[in-house]
Symmetry: C2
Subunit: 362 residues, 2 copies
DNA sequence: TCTCAGCACTCAAGTCTACCGAGTGCCAAC
DNA sequence: GTTGGCACTCGGTAGACTTGAGTGCTGAGA
């Protein structure tokens, strides 16, 4: 009834219209109540207009085909991962943010201040607040951003800090060991030399630093370049911001599940690859065991890309139970990902228009 | 039997020797088993050599005085916050790290690399791994650290990033809005001017920046200084690193408790003030409701200071159930806090010896 | 052939009972 | 003051019973 003819023609490939309507009613009600849904509850749904007996026989077929399970005889049905998948792919209406949510997002992005890291951190909180699920934000890998500034600042006689400012507003800082006792003047010279050589190149493709003539300066430059490239290639280089992990405690009733999921979230590397895996498979939702991480078998992940100039520049994600509210979650992730993309893109775009690649700087 | 005479003379002020021994046995066993402890179990303890009947009558007194409670008749006793407090103050033996733990700590601090933020982050994981409790690390407030470098890097025509490197290895970066379209040359001039003026002063007491003569430079300097001071005075300025929050899930059986504690940990400001409150009262342990945070009523907090040159420079803490293993937790927090202090102190000490306050730089 | 009301059946969850056992408080004896 | 003995309390477990939600099946009607 509620489905348009065009949608029917798509869904009919796998399930006939009535089965799809029944599945939709079950998923929707189960998401809302967390209780197994019985045939009479489905019959009460306005989108289904057959008797509960007919629904029961359809449910038997849906269970046989793997869309539903019964926790036990004399209980209602629960969707399987496959059931959720069909719901997400064919049945869920696109989902819109409510007006006050939209307001919340837009005022967030107009008000938020601070460096890129701060913005990403707060974005994860925003996304979690919007949806009541745990949120994950993976920032743009700085490899693609242009280098705006390089500076070597002495900390002790043998240690210095390399500070690199990138065109996307990110800041990388990493300490280096200096072989000899190096004076501030030499460090300043090295900073200037590095700045001149590396400005405008990216961390991923560092320009070669020409020989300066001064031996101690060249030593420092070599150290800096190798430190930078190894830091960029380190596996845990990409920063992950987790928002609202406490929401997980409300999403599951088994405390072991909560602990398992929290443990996963502590491993930044795993989170990054999870999101990347999902996106590389062209999905925006991974349900239950669709991603290969067993501790997350009772979780669903909703991902939205962050894109800058059409290129992948990170992701925002939501982590909740498989019975999560997919339409809302997808809408929220989508909106936030889009706005975050715009925010980063606007900065970079303005940069490239007004400052070029920075090669006229020195 | 196991208590030395000197300890007895201290404990006798509140509880006689036998009561203290009984309380100690109950606390120790309850920490281990999480089950109410009965009189016969206490009688089995080697440090108590009276019959269970005698122990029972002592337990009645201990309960009357508020050291113990009984969950219900016909159950054993559980320590109250007051009971834990007496245990911590008078009974707990100082506690030593095991040899492999000590090894773990020292190899961590010799191996750890990265900027200050990275070190603090990883320290929180270390502390959590050592103890199986959630750990908290509050870094040195950068207010006291000397400024090693100030730089203004243009991002777009109207936005720039101020990057300040501090003598303790910390890096502050915050974006500023530029009123007019400012060229890179002006920003470079402003950087030099700021650097010359602010080097060696602290974020808390920013030196005044003299007028440079160039109007646009002065405008930028004013913006930078006001942005810096407002950022430093912002309430959420101090960074908190939480390690092993998933351990909380194993520490409590009620999922609501876990959620409440996790929610607290998400509020950096609350965590900072909690640790500060505890330390300002001269405590290293706050048990149950001793700190005023209701959601943490079933938690105990163990704190150890991070001190640089005898001054407070942050804290490390552990958060666990009130029935946590206080001796181990205190030993771990103490050791890690001490080593972290040394680490930061060594850097700064070397700095002050070899580079002075930096005023000869420019 | 599809639909559906009716019906017998299943089974989780709640209630009631009985029982066990850990642990207590009390008391009389030492 | 200490202790063994003893009656008592009460949470937890197990079993019997009831309830009710929900099912699968079947036969009649469209």
């Amino acid at each position: 009834m509620t489905s348009e003819p065009t949608q029917n023609s798509r869904t009919i490939e796998e399930l006939d219209e009535r089965k799809a309507a029944i599945l939709e009613a079950i998923v929707t009600q189960y998401i809302g109540s967390a209780q197994p849904v019985g045939s009479s509850q489905v019959a009460a749904s306005p989108s289904v207009s057959v008797s509960s007996a007919t629904i029961r026989s359809e449910m038997v077929a849906l269970e046989r085909d793997g869309y539903l399970v019964q926790p036990h005889t004399s209980a209602g049905r629960i969707p399987t991962d496959k059931g959720y998948r069909f719901f997400v792919d064919h049945l869920a209406t696109p989902g819109q943010l409510g007006p006050q949510q939209r307001q919340q997002v837009s005022s967030f992005f107009t008000d938020v201040q601070g460096g890129l890291e701060d913005v990403l951190e707060r974005t994860s909180s925003l996304l979690s607040d919007l949806t009541s699920y745990a949120a994950v934000v993976v920032g743009p890998s700085h490899e693609e951003a242009g280098i705006r500034s390089v500076q070597v600042v002495g900390l002790t006689a043998h240690r210095a800090l390399v500070v690199v400012v990138l065109s996307d507003g990110g800041v990388e800082n990493l300490p280096i060991e200096l072989g000899d006792d190096v004076g501030d003047e030499t460090l300043a010279l090295a900073s200037v030399h590095l700045q001149r050589s590396l400005l405008g190149s990216t961390l991923a493709a560092l320009a070669t630093v020409p020989v300066s003539g001064e031996r101690s300066v060249d030593t420092i430059c070599l150290t800096v370049v190798s430190a930078l490239s190894s830091a960029v290639n380190a596996p845990d280089h990409e920063a992950v911001y987790v928002g609202g992990p406490s929401r997980l405690a409300g999403s599951f009733d088994a405390i072991e599940t909560v602990q398992g999921v929290l443990t996963i979230l502590e491993q930044q590397l795993v989170v990054v690859s999870l999101l990347r895996d999902v996106m590389e498979r062209g999905l925006s939702v991974a349900i239950g065991s669709e991603h290969g991480y067993e501790p997350l078998a009772s979780c669903a992940v909703v991902v939205a890309p962050v894109q800058v100039d059409g290129r992948h520049a990170g992701a925002v994600g939501l982590l909740g139970p498989t019975r999560m509210d997919y339409p809302s979650a997808m809408a929220a992730a989508d909106a936030v990902g889009r706005q975050l993309s715009e925010r980063i893109e606007a900065d970079r775009g303005a940069l490239e228009r007004t400052r070029g690649d920075g090669s006229n700087h020195g």
